[in-house]
Symmetry: C2
Amino acid sequence: MVEVKILVTVILGLMILHGESEYIEYNTSQRIVPGKINVHLVPHSHDDVGWLKTVDQYYVGANNSIRGACVQNVLDSVISALLEDKNRKFVYVEVAFFQRWWRQQSEILKIKVKQLVNSGQLEFINGGMCMHDEATPHYIDLIDQTTLGHQFIKKEFGQKPRVGWQIDPFGHSAVQAYLLGAELGFDSLFFARIDYQDRAKRKDEKTLEVVWQGSKSLGSSSQIFTGIFPIHYAPPDGFTFEIHDVSPPIQDDALLFDYNVKERVDDFVTAAVAQDGRVNALYSTPSIYTDLKNAAGELWPLKTGDFFPYADRENAYWTGYFTSRPAFKGYVRMMSSYYLAARQLEFFKGRGSSGLNIDALADALAIAQHHDAVSGTEREHVAADYAKRLSIGYAECPLLNISYCPPSEAALSNGKSLVIVVYNPLGWKREEAIRVPVSTEGVIVHDSDGKEIESQLLPLSYASLSIRNYHVKAYLGRSPGETIKYWLAFSVSVPPLGFSTYIVSTDKRAGSSTISEVYTSQGNKDLTAEVGQGNLKLLYTTNEGKLARYVNSRSLVETSAQLTYSYYSGYNGTDRENQASGAYIFRPNGTFPIESEGQVSLTIMRGPLVDEVHQQLNPWIYQVITRIYKGKEHAEVEFNIGPIPVDDGVGKEIITKITTDMVTNKTFYTDSNGRDFIERVRDYREDWDLQVHQPVSGNYYPINLGVYIKDESTELSVLVDRAVGGSSLVDGQIELMLHRRLLHDDSRGVGEALNEEVCVLDKCRGLTVQGKFYIRIDPLGDGAKWRRKFGQEIYSPLLLAFTEQDGNNWTNSHVPTFSGVDPSYSLPNSIAVITLQELASGRILLRLAHLYETGEDKDYSQMTSVELKKLFRTRRSTKLQRQICLPIKRELKWRQRG
Amino acid sequence: MVEVKILVTVILGLMILHGESEYIEYNTSQRIVPGKINVHLVPHSHDDVGWLKTVDQYYVGANNSIRGACVQNVLDSVISALLEDKNRKFVYVEVAFFQRWWRQQSEILKIKVKQLVNSGQLEFINGGMCMHDEATPHYIDLIDQTTLGHQFIKKEFGQKPRVGWQIDPFGHSAVQAYLLGAELGFDSLFFARIDYQDRAKRKDEKTLEVVWQGSKSLGSSSQIFTGIFPIHYAPPDGFTFEIHDVSPPIQDDALLFDYNVKERVDDFVTAAVAQDGRVNALYSTPSIYTDLKNAAGELWPLKTGDFFPYADRENAYWTGYFTSRPAFKGYVRMMSSYYLAARQLEFFKGRGSSGLNIDALADALAIAQHHDAVSGTEREHVAADYAKRLSIGYAECPLLNISYCPPSEAALSNGKSLVIVVYNPLGWKREEAIRVPVSTEGVIVHDSDGKEIESQLLPLSYASLSIRNYHVKAYLGRSPGETIKYWLAFSVSVPPLGFSTYIVSTDKRAGSSTISEVYTSQGNKDLTAEVGQGNLKLLYTTNEGKLARYVNSRSLVETSAQLTYSYYSGYNGTDRENQASGAYIFRPNGTFPIESEGQVSLTIMRGPLVDEVHQQLNPWIYQVITRIYKGKEHAEVEFNIGPIPVDDGVGKEIITKITTDMVTNKTFYTDSNGRDFIERVRDYREDWDLQVHQPVSGNYYPINLGVYIKDESTELSVLVDRAVGGSSLVDGQIELMLHRRLLHDDSRGVGEALNEEVCVLDKCRGLTVQGKFYIRIDPLGDGAKWRRKFGQEIYSPLLLAFTEQDGNNWTNSHVPTFSGVDPSYSLPNSIAVITLQELASGRILLRLAHLYETGEDKDYSQMTSVELKKLFRTRRSTKLQRQICLPIKRELKWRQRG
């Protein structure tokens, strides 16, 4: 968030001034001096990979009217300073920048820099492409972005970073501690931002340094030594020496006015230590510091869980960014899944040198994990830059564009058939319904064997059509050529890591697709409507137009259930505390239910494959309040929210609440970056006695996979399609924040209100966000299976590619079905392929994830074996090696207190 | 005025991008390409030797809350950049900074820097300690500050600067062109600031490059090639690359977004040339440019006179700074004279290694010539820093303190005698009255032969006593111990470059000093009062309390004469043009006579040596309206102005007017840095048709020596004791601006109103300024003699040193009189010693000035010879060599147009 900050060259204490006017070389050699307080001076940069400016603007020093910052100059000057004095040290973090710089250096300089790295003067820490956010990215993205950076460091310098350095992200996740820390082979992790109450207690009790065990499942093997800064990551007051900083320089020329060496040494000692005592200062790195701490053999307190949410002071909970820029968050998640699938396909096809590859998408996705990128805390034009990079990367991937679907609309109207190739990136077979937009009702679907497939046409709502047209105009600058009328839904069956092909044609005999029956609740005499044709049924009160009950006839779960919307009005920051709600901070100023004006009707569609209930709740909230697919036991909710009205001068943060009468005892569970579920208790922190000033925002947590609550008999799970913030503020209730539109900056540096707009011909309106979440209620103990398996399916939806054919020419000349996995095999339900990639070296990188934690599920929370040879039947080379970024045996042991 | 600006490394046009991702070394070698437009890129710094911060603060980068600026970093990075690429060049100007930096460099680096200088990569231009002001310094100070810098360059690098580089001063003087330019051996002179109307015409007529002939007397031998910048000295729009500048960087990495080499090259060509054509850019220096211009053999227009006054746009005449900080200007002039005398005494005594020497004063005086120092355009705290440096330098000089005179007051009251050594720094014998404060009336004065000297006691006015007490409290923090009652005046006779000794004692028989007779005009029946006992008499109307007539019975000049005060109210800058009167700019908003409230009395003192007329004009103007010494034919006016009242919210600029009925035809004459008198014609410029928007400030000129007007029979001369601004806005009238107190900043960067205050115990009031000017009216053609000879005596007053004795112990043990000049000799009246100094090398530096211009005086405007051996009788070595900074034979010839 703060860029280009260098803690430079505080070489006090090392200086002795000899004589007055003669030049004397300072002795800057240094070591630990026993018996003294040894102060480690860690010269480091902190360069945002995009924030107020785009990543390239920061690098080249462009757009300086926003912020004078130029990372290439930082690197130039740092390297030159290191070369001048071998006692100097520097740690570098963001490989996205370093890589840009490295590419432009001469071979001669590269050799010198390699020597600096070998000697330890220059050390890479963290070493990902960026210093990623910890709240809103998916763990697969964290692994991928870190891998990319580490591969560069390994390739160019033969080194492996030892230290995590997450000094700026706004809270710290358990997954960071164990998966991106201990499991990555890091010996230690350092960061600056924790809750102000937590910090005060830790400073008081001297527990700012802990051993953090982030994983229940991995236990003590996942521990990492963790250092929390006593204050922020800036230099101590009076020791910031950037060009325009006001700290008094060290003035050691006695012939000039204001000679101040004595005074500055005193200041430094004061800054370095509260108690009395002489101080030995040395240039250091976090690695050196870690080794010395380890060698001291002390006992360290144990920390479990995570460091969310983060408040830097009263009323300033950084929980708004869990949801900020929801459309961008959704796009990042979609690209993440696409990248995973694209690598698999590249692997199956062979990487080759055809030109198009996944590298651009890899880079774009990596920097999108930056703590001012997917977090939503960058400026608007920077968010656009990240999105542009993703779209370029996406277009360069060797797959077809599936976003705007012109083929599906155009092909049929030209009398041709539409060929749909459906790819399944998961290791197990999937049978589910997919949907494509069509412009005519006379259609029929066949599989690649020519067998007709049951299909259903769902009329497109005016709301969907309108937002589609608007976005095409806004982003492509033209009107869509075809007017689509329906969603065509049909069931597909796709083998693990494989694809199937389906053909959609127009049929002169009006086709076989069933047009959904459509009912409107308005004027309907029935008081309730029942939706769902299988085990799961949802009941609606038609007069109120509201969800009332959830019934599963198989599991015998039956409960009252409501789905409602509300908004929090954002603080405008004009009160005496001057803290507005903004991109980072969520500070509500009252909550207001969003009710329809007058009676609101439900539109119910039924058909052979799916039942849907639609509702225009108000002019700016349209929802598919329920969608239940045949054979599925969860309800899907699709929301269209926006433009959020702000004509009243009030920013609004839109939430949805799922309310049951479950007795949940203040407790709920949210995931850590899509992996471990962590228990949250309302108004409570495990590490300190929480003073509650913000009963809403202080109970918000980041959600990447889902959130659940449970009582004695059931558990309610809600899964999400992107990062959102959420909580359970009332027993039996889950709330998710889905969209935010705010009118004030929250004074944390971004200097822009989070007021996203979409413009057509310079006319702008608030952004409309489309997304989904998924609801299921299970008997107690049964929820994990759905959360894990279906959660993986949400992350990796079936991927559709389109083409068209006249007659049968395409299906005749192409392989219509394929599976990378031996037909006799599929991965266990507890295992997911999170990376399958052919590296540039030709070697294959495979990462498998066990989806279940210890004790999470009675069937799946156990060791599982995978038959790797059956996973790799298509490639001859099955010789597997452990790759970088998989767990590495660490040598340092840490002793745990008490 | 603008600091730390580097025109850096625009290496466009030289770049060719090879390939995309590979590092390719740019070929930065360069040369003039015939047939192309060759653009000289001149990387230079512009570092203010004090302005918004003090000189040391700029150097070390302290006080950055005012301005982030650190010259040592500029030099570090420039040298390192030059060492990296031998094609790069840099010119450096301010030796005061370079010297500070040089002292702190290692021998190894010094050798490298010497190589850079030898190869021409680093070139010193201008080469004085600072880039001096051209309006308000005395030419002797300009020579001295330049000498100091050039001596350093000569000693360390064996080089001699070739180019004048006065890019920031606010107008340009004739003395700069010929004395500090051509005569110094410079081949060219470059600057940026000339009147906006002048510039427009020159741009139009392509006469921005001229041959400037600054001296009538030296004629074509004083010509210098002069380049005026077409716009200011900043880089062209879009090519400023300071850390926080907004110019688009040159982005040559095609793998990043916003690659812009083509576009930036186009921008550069556009910026470099208005007409079409390809451009060849090269790193250059003004020297290289000058040589190429010279080799081209073109014809250049001739420029005579100077470039005053300067207006950067309508209503923005930079003529306020001619007077800004009048007390500081007076202090600088006093120190200048003291430095001249101190060097002489050091020469006579032998420099030795006693510790105390003139070096600190030399340094302090040098940087006080900076264009934001003596100009008065620095911030208040910076002015205080300059003054502090001067006072330290003064205290380290091997002479006694003469400013506060405790000995003269204390000695007599202790019954001891006061010994006064009177030094005459001029080359001719002087007989004039001196005055010292005493606290008792019973005093007697003897010369060193024991002969009683006639003396006169003048009662101290309440106004003088009060300001003395206030300043002692303000600056020394205590009350003066003694209450002084009188000025004791007596005549002294001092040999050339020598001293005499006088002893003042208390005499029990009430002494022999004559107490002045004091009359008050109030209640006096006479209508007029006549003052002056010799040839010159001034007549006053006692009822009005005003000067009425000037009569010289010897020269038969008799004329009406008035002396009045007025003020201009300063523009407050809130009008639509938003230009206030301030430190730089004089923009009056109406003129108001300063009249006494009710009848104002004159106090007339008469005695054997001097007649004085005192007047308290109003509560804040007290003046010795006339002081005429026996045997002198000029009137001395001493003014005490301040605190200027600003309770009405209006800034005021105080002027005095000397009014006669002479018919002067809009014409007046002001000096150039104390040397040449230049003819000024009201509302007229020789070089262009002046559009008059500011009839007052647009006719103001800087005055260092004096100003005169003439008609068919007489000439009226007014000489000054410091730099002031002045004009003749009405025929027969001369006006001087004596003090300014303003409440608004004039938006030229200093960011502070020129509102000088003096504080005692945190209670502040406006500054009171004390000063003198001198009036004389001569028959036409006789004025120059007085202006030149007496002008030199004003610049070099007799210097008094004090001690005390019991009995005759001091006079018995010391040499009471001395002259450095052979007793049979004194310098001709037309010649002044402007430098007589023993250099650190032991060699002697002597500079003599001929005081008269061609045609200025019928007797003295001619060649004169000086008997050097008689000037050096006290030192054995009389072998003289030409020194640096004396005229140097230049090789370049310039052809003159038409």
